[in-house]
């Protein structure tokens, strides 16, 4: 399973029937080396932008916004290190995964969206 591919496939299959928004939050493992590059925690919004572009450069085409440096949205959603929420058309939360990496589940999230669309 590849979470990027799964997410992109899900987005492509459902983007006409649901809004998708990726929120780039903060690096879960600053100091890690990915593809030969050491990734550091962003200290400026420009650094955050660069990391978000890296994050989505692997064929992830979801509309993406940047959380602020204070990570306020991430904290409001308890979204660290990654997490998926599915909202109904009224903006009510109808499904959420547990926090990643253990809770990350595109398949379950997609099933929740499908249930919502067929209600």
């Amino acid at each position: 399973m590849n979470s990027v591919v799964d997410t992109e496939d899900w987005y492509q299959a459902y983007k006409d029937r649901a809004n998708f928004l990726m929120v780039y939050i903060e690096e879960a493992h600053p100091g890690n080396t990915v593809e030969g590059m050491e990734v550091h925690a962003a200290t400026t919004i420009e650094e955050k932008q660069a990391l978000a572009e890296l994050c989505t450069s692997g064929n992830l085409s979801l509309p993406t916004v940047l959380d602020k440096l204070d990570n306020a949205v991430e904290i409001a959603y308890a979204a660290f290190p990654d997490r998926i929420y599915v909202l109904d058309a009224e903006g009510v939360i109808r499904y959420k995964t547990a926090p990643g990496p253990f809770g990350w589940d595109v398949a379950e999230s997609a099933a929740a969206l499908e249930r919502l669309l067929t209600e």
């Binding site: 899900w10 928004l21 998926i84």
Partner: protein
């Protein structure tokens, strides 16, 4: 290094506990912050009853996941023994509680033993702490009977409060309105407001990072 990554096996041997009333244990789906009245094992706990032990185990995991120190203290002060892997000494009662508390309240640049990376690393006191663990619980009936084991993973994130204490960060529950926000699009910088997406179609929010 911003992540306290503590991957450990936590075999817990919970022997007979007194069992008065049983309040709800805090879990991820329960919009509860802060300590409950004290962890209780299953109502009418019976150390010889499999279902009773299993329920106590689930409550312990829920309390641990919620960072509910007071609830855990109840367990630790009531005959529980935690057996660590790799030959580490068993801990009981208040020593165990103190150890747990210490992990969640790091002193500045304190040394912490982290099994995830193999070597001890220097940690810095941070505005938040993430704690995750693989656990294996083994519960053994006090008066004999086959031990029961369960394994799983959980993650809890704590946010330091102005008084220095740590509080569990909880997201909104299913059924709650999604917290509204307006953030800038990655490339264009154009503001995107969640409220403008609401009204016609469902919305999927995907939170993540590069690492």
């Amino acid at each position: 290094m911003k992540l306290l990554s503590c991957t450990a096996l936590l075999p817990l041997i919970l022997s007979g506990c007194a069992a008065p009333d049983a309040p709800e244990a805090a879990g991820d789906a329960v919009p509860h912050v802060g300590p409950v009245e004290g962890f209780q094992p299953a109502e009418n706990f019976d150390p010889d009853d499999v279902a009773s032990i299993r329920e106590s185990r689930d409550r312990w995991v829920a309390a641990f996941s919620a960072g509910d120190a007071e609830a855990l203290a109840f367990v630790f002060q009531h005959e529980a023994v935690m057996a660590w892997p790799e030959g580490l000494p068993e801990m009981t009662g208040e020593d165990l509680f103190a150890s747990y508390s210490a992990e969640l309240d790091l002193d500045e640049s304190s040394e912490q033993y982290i099994t995830d990376g193999g070597d001890p690393r220097t940690m810095t006191r941070l505005p938040w702490v993430s704690y995750y663990a693989d656990y294996t619980l083994t519960l053994t009936p006090k008066d004999g009977g086959a031990p029961m084991e369960s394994s799983g993973r959980f993650m809890t994130r704590f946010h330091r409060q102005p008084d220095g204490s740590l509080e569990v960060i909880r997201g909104p529950a299913v059924g709650d309105p999604a917290p509204l926000f307006a953030l800038n699009e990655m490339r264009s910088g154009e503001e995107t407001a969640l409220v403008e997406m609401i009204g016609e179609k469902p919305t999927v929010l995907v939170f993540g990072s590069y690492t």
